[in-house]
Amino acid sequence: MKFRVHVRVLPRAGLLDPQGQAVEHALAALKFGGISNVHIGKAIEFEVNADSADRAQAEVKRMCEQLLANPVTEDFSIAVEG
């Protein structure tokens, strides 16, 4: 079965995120109010063949650990779509 996968990789909480800050300022400059805690990372999307959604999830987790995220600086989250 083919599953659509959405991975989010974001800078670890507590690490300086200058890109997030820059966007937060830019949003404020455009008069968007009440915005806080902007963080910017990577969205990774792809399709994967697997026997089940759980298998897909497990497989993608390994991908994240090995390649898609840097454990020193990044956290990841995975969403598998039917």
């Binding site: 690490l15 300086l16 200058p18 390649l67 840097n70 020193v72 600086t73």
Partner: protein, 232 residues
């Protein structure tokens, strides 16, 4: 003559500069392509700068899986001297041969300029010809140059005297002394055994009198002929 393997990945672009600087330093330098696993009796390995795999995903993230890296890993474990310059430093961090990571410059833009760096340690194979506290000017050219590590790692690096190179304010009137927001002004570090060194500035670009500076030439000359004079 000492043999230096210059590892080339698809997208390396300081390979030739490193080869030439090593040659000029009196070393027998040659390329090893990333798909090879034979380092050909290297006495030392240099991982040059550039954009291995386009720096896609993260700088150095894909290169670390190249076949050659397992050989580099073994070589390093046995105490062989390994120098990573710029992208080479990033690859060594991704491969966990060095701690920490190099993140987007604080200024968010690629930064190419000369920086002043202080030699903090001379007890590595690549800095033995310098003296502690010596300030030299080298070019940096990188987008991801901000050295970052967990607090404990930073503390460890300091207490084990593994910060090899630090950005300092030695002049340039109106440029930030820390060009990229690196933690503790770190420009270069080494592993606990001190044989693996990673630095962001480019000494190989300051190693030819024809074009101006030879401030960086001693990184590779240290390999060829470690000076006995100074110890840190």
């Amino acid at each position: 003559m000492q043999r230096v393997a210059i590892v080339r990945f698809p997208g390396s672009n300081c390979d030739h500069d490193s080869l030439k600087a090593a040659h000029d330093a009196g070393l027998d330098s040659y390329y090893v392509w990333h798909r090879e696993t034979d380092l050909k009796q290297a006495d030392a390995v240099v991982i040059p700068g550039g954009f291995s795999y386009g720096d896609y995903l993260r700088s150095g993230a894909i290169a670390r899986f190249s076949p050659v890296m397992s050989s580099v890993q073994q070589f390093a474990l046995k105490g062989g001297p390994v120098l990573g310059i710029c992208n080479g430093f990033q690859i060594l961090c991704e491969a966990s041969l060095l701690p920490g990571a190099l993140m987007r410059n604080a200024g968010l833009a690629f930064l190419s300029r000369p920086v002043d760096v202080r030699i903090e340690r001379t007890d590595t194979p690549f800095t033995s010809r310098y003296h502690v506290g010596q300030v030299i000017r080298l070019p940096v050219a990188s987008g991801d140059g901000r050295f970052t590590a967990a607090k404990e790692t930073l503390a460890e690096l300091e207490s084990e005297h593994r910060v090899v190179l630090r950005y300092v304010n030695a002049g340039a009137i109106d440029a930030e002394p820390n060009p990229n927001g690196s933690s503790r002004e770190i420009a270069g570090i080494c592993n606990p055994a001190r044989n693996v060194v990673g630095i962001m500035p480019h000494p190989e670009r300051a190693a030819d009198l024809r074009t101006g500076s030879t401030a960086g030439a001693d990184f590779l000359r240290s390999l060829a002929a470690p000076a006995a004079a100074s110890a840190a």
